[in-house]
């Protein structure tokens, strides 16, 4: 019996053989950054997850909890990865109080199914996140990916009201609750957001839900350069309009979007035919509110000297809004090799974008920028060939992005990079003190380091 088969058999003994995924080729589908686990367990209850974690603790194995695996490459490669804990089999709606607008759902529930369910009650969850078709409620929390609707609804931190999870001692724990306002005990569930599976295996998440808006609108303003686009974005922010999304698209991003939309014969906003910088706004409300916002945006665009301004048709708005929600997904596949960094900055200036562009000078890569509301920048560098030179250039670009962010009072994280690039990056935590602090949290949750060690920069 091979070591892998042996592990699978013993784990099957603990959790039930029917919950094991055994075929070697299936194991390969659970690879993270090139590491293939020795066994995959797919429980159908939180108790099953508890058993799997207890087994891993007892056997001193590394275990990585996973959802649909659509974003498991965010973060660094795990330093130990023996068992994949596939949570997609734990997927019930545990509790829904439509009258209270609160929802408690198992970690493996896909967001798309949840959307359909909530829509029947005239509600929704404002998690407009990439890989929406497959992503799970637990996975999206662990990934920490931001939502395209954050300008209006905030991030998951603002509407995740509680969670249940298996901690590193194999106990099923919870924090928060099912009510919209609650300060009882420590908000441990907030630590799970962006924890990349390193603190616990999320089994259930509780959310505040929101009423579906009556109608929505979209607008694009186009500018000859990024100065014009960013200055317009600033004016829109200052106008205090209740926008769901406000994003600046570099010409390269627009070109990519146009190409994809044309390929799937979807409606393309006319503005994207122009090789300019575009600023997209989306908004919602009743008809008078939507009309008012459209009017104001047209006026602000005119005053900002926009080369073009356009209120989008519903079909074009849907396709552009959908593309921007999925930006992380298609940027990954924008070329044979891609690096995506996300920068969180207090303020985005043309100077910062110029510096980031400068990182690509002399390299055989092209760059694309997406500046989301609140100072979030998605910066992608795409190479046409996977070569050693490209890997070196990527490593330089990823590190450069970190420096640029730090120099501007912000920080950067690596959302995607080929495995060979990650291994070239000797990323150190930006603040030793803060890192030591994070380490204490990791130890409190996971004293024997069973969960996905190494996924967070610095080795947590």
């Amino acid at each position: 019996m091979t070591a892998t088969a042996n592990l699978a058999a013993r784990l099957g003994g603990a959790v039930g053989a029917e919950h094991m995924i055994a075929a070697e080729e299936e194991l390969a589908a659970y690879a993270v950054d090139g590491f293939v686990p020795g066994a995959v367990v797919r429980p159908t209850s939180a108790e099953g997850a508890v058993e799997a974690v207890r087994f891993a603790v007892a056997e001193k194995l590394g275990l990585l909890p996973l959802g649909s695996r659509s974003k498991c490459e965010i973060g660094m490669a795990p330093s130990r990865y023996d068992v994949a804990l596939d949570m997609t089999g734990v997927r019930e709606i545990a509790h829904y109080d439509a009258g209270d607008l609160t929802l408690s759902v198992d970690a493996g529930m896909p967001l798309r199914e949840l959307e359909i369910f909530l829509k029947r009650h005239g509600q929704f969850l404002p998690l407009a996140v990439p890989c929406f078709e497959s992503t799970t409620a637990g996975g999206v929390i662990a990934s920490g990916i931001d939502s395209a609707l954050r300008m209006q609804y905030g991030t998951a931190r603002d509407f995740l009201i509680g969670a249940e999870f298996v901690d590193g001692t194999g106990q099923l724990c919870k924090s928060g609750g099912r009510v919209v306002k609650n300060v009882t005990g420590y908000d441990l569930h907030k630590l799970l957001i962006g924890s990349l599976g390193t603190l616990g295996a999320i089994t259930r998440v509780n959310f505040r839900t929101f009423p579906l808006p009556a109608t929505s609108g979209g607008h694009v303003a186009s500018f000859a350069n990024c100065e014009g686009a960013l200055s317009y974005k600033r004016s829109v922010e200052k106008a205090g309009l209740p926008l769901g999304n406000l994003e600046v698209l570099s010409p390269e991003v627009s070109r990519m979007i146009r190409a994809i939309l044309q390929k799937c014969e979807a409606s393309v906003p006319g503005a994207l035919e122009r090789k300019e910088w575009h600023v997209y706004s989306s908004y919602e409300g009743n008809e008078p509110v939507v009309q008012r916002i459209s009017r104001d945006l047209e006026r602000i665009a005119r005053e900002a000297g926009a080369a073009h301004s356009e209120i989008l048709e519903p079909a074009a708005d849907d396709s552009l809004g959908g593309m921007l929600r999925e930006a992380y997904e298609w940027l990954r596949w924008a070329g044979p090799a891609t690096v995506i960094c996300r920068l969180a900055l207090p303020e985005v200036t043309p100077g910062i974008l110029t510096k980031l562009s400068g990182l690509m000078d002399g390299e055989l890569v092209r760059g694309a920028f997406l500046v989301r509301a609140m100072g979030t920048v998605y910066f992608a560098a795409v190479a046409e060939e996977v070569t050693e030179a490209a890997a070196v250039a990527f490593a330089k670009i990823a590190l450069g992005a970190k420096w640029v962010a730090a120099a501007n009072n912000g920080h950067a994280s690596l959302l995607h990079a080929p495995t060979e690039v990650k291994s070239k990056l000797a990323l150190a935590p930006e603040s030793e003190k803060e890192f030591a602090f994070q380490q204490r949290i990791k130890l409190a949750f996971d004293p024997s380091s069973v969960f996905a060690p190494g996924r967070i920069v610095g080795g947590l």
Binding site: D167, Q171, N182, V183, G185, Y186, D187, P211, P242, G458
Partner: protein, 467 residues
């Protein structure tokens, strides 16, 4: 301590210390020393000195808290942040401000309102409570219904750890690298670290506001209206309820214009673009009328609006005229269960022989039942506590929580087991111990002492330190 901070910044006489043995709760605990640092470095040095003498340290803002969070349960040194009250930076372009913990909540809004901005968390004590205290307790307020509690408005913190080390967490942007430590510290009730600087997110003032007063014959009709407003997906900026008994007391004192013969009123506010506010106000009015509101008034002007809010925000002061003391609870229930919850509270009051008043954040299900009692009457005091515990238990049974905005403190720590299992508390305690291993910081809070959790492990007296 005196050589560290100067004699002016240290209190050690009993007559001074007794002023600091109270907060807004029914609890009492006297510190051995009270100090007033001016800088983060001073806070760090005070903490290090206290550590050397093995005495506990507790932080305090304005002492308006309602759960005993800012009381020195284990004696020791109380760090009062009143003199760290500078607004260090305001960035109106990017809606950020950096403040010291002793800045009064409303003072920040006053500082930035010229730019059309404000600080959203608005506890009733906004005129006196500090932002450091708001962070420690994750404070709410009437308008958190639409805009979220303090945690939603904090981007970064500077902290002094129990060993005196100074650390920064979070980022000016708000997104974090690694774990969301800022999210953990906001609302940790001063049991993990002392907050010495806060980067807050400022909000933009809405262009239009409409304040409505819906008047009902019975509290059942009023709570049904709240259920209906919530279920229809209308989110007012605020939705407050006063029952008839409470509003009569308030009206006698404030003359806010609440109708004395009504069973309950809802004070509702809608904000946003002019075009949206009109529609929302009309929808709310329709719901209220369907739920048998006797009348729905719209505040005509700023003056009338301010008066209505004055009635709401000063209600607890008005109730103070009826009894020597009152016990304000803070349970939360699912909004769909509001009528049942209020019925149960009425029943519990009757059982213990109290009239329980209700003035609360109805829109987010955050109840504030008020039990009036005389603390000098030991039997009555004990009955008030027993009634309160039963109310909290009822909230949890209805699917709710112990506390919505006041915190657990030393008031509800023994009730934590109603909501949390041993495994939940064990993990919370490990997180506590990871930051505050000796419980030297704010001991005896949050965790049930009866379970052997969160014991007060540091016991030496502070007398020697005062050299």
């Amino acid at each position: 301590m005196k050589s560290l901070l100067g004699a002016r910044n240290v209190l050690d006489q009993t007559e001074d210390l007794i002023l600091y043995e109270y907060d807004g709760s029914v609890e009492k605990a006297r510190p051995d020393l009270v100090v007033f640092p001016h800088t983060t470095e001073e806070v760090s040095r005070v903490v290090k000195l206290a550590l050397r003498y093995e005495v506990p340290v507790v932080g305090r803002g304005a002492g308006t808290g309602l759960s005993g969070g800012a009381l020195a349960r284990g004696g020791g040194v109380m760090i009062v942040f009143a003199r760290m009250n500078k607004i260090l930076e305001v960035d109106t372009d990017n809606c950020r401000a950096v403040v010291q913990p002793g800045v009064v909540n409303l003072d920040l809004t006053r500082e930035v309102e010229h730019a059309g901005l404000y600080f959203a968390p608005d506890p009733s004590s906004a005129k006196s409570c500090t932002i450091g205290g708001n962070v420690a307790e994750n404070a709410g307020g009437p308008h958190t219904l639409a805009y979220g509690v303090t945690a939603n408005h904090v981007a970064a913190l500077e902290l002094v750890l129990p060993d005196g080390e100074i650390v920064r967490v979070g980022s000016r942007h708000g997104d974090v690298r690694g774990y969301d430590l800022c999210g953990l510290f906001v609302g940790s009730e001063g049991t993990l670290a002392l907050v010495t600087e806060i980067t807050v997110k400022l909000s933009r003032k809405a262009e239009a506001v409409k304040t409505l007063l819906a008047i009902f014959e019975t509290i059942d009709h009023a709570s049904q209206a709240v259920v209906e407003i919530t279920a229809r997906g209308i989110t007012p900026a605020a939705c407050e309820m006063l029952d008839g008994w409470t509003l009569r007391v308030v009206e006698d004192y404030i003359h806010a214009g609440f109708p004395r013969d009504s069973g309950a009123v809802l004070l509702l506010e809608v904000e946003g673009l002019r075009e949206g506010v009109e529609g929302q106000a009309a929808a709310i009015e329709e719901v209220c009328r369907t739920c048998r509101a006797r009348e729905v008034r719209v505040a005509k002007d700023e003056r009338e609006r301010d008066l209505l809010w004055k009635g709401r925000k000063n209600a607890f002061g008005a109730l103070g005229r009826l009894a020597p003391s009152n016990y304000v609870l803070d349970g939360v229930i699912p909004r769909s269960k509001l009528p049942q919850a209020l019925q149960r509270i009425r029943g519990i009051g009757e059982k213990f022989g109290f009239h329980v008043g209700n003035i609360f954040h109805a829109g987010d299900g955050n109840l504030h039942p008020i039990v009036l009692y005389d603390p000098r009457n030991q039997e009555q005091f004990e009955k008030a506590i027993a009634a309160s515990h039963e109310i909290v238990r009822a909230c949890v049974e209805l699917g709710g929580a112990l506390t919505g905005e006041h915190g657990v403190g030393m008031e509800k720590n023994e009730l934590m087991t109603l909501s949390f299992s041993e495994a939940d508390l064990a993990l919370m305690l490990r997180v506590h111990d990871a930051m505050n291993p000796d419980s030297s910081l704010n001991p005896g809070k949050i965790f049930p002492l009866s379970k052997g959790c969160g014991e007060i492990r540091i016991k030496k007296k502070a007398g020697d330190m005062n050299a």
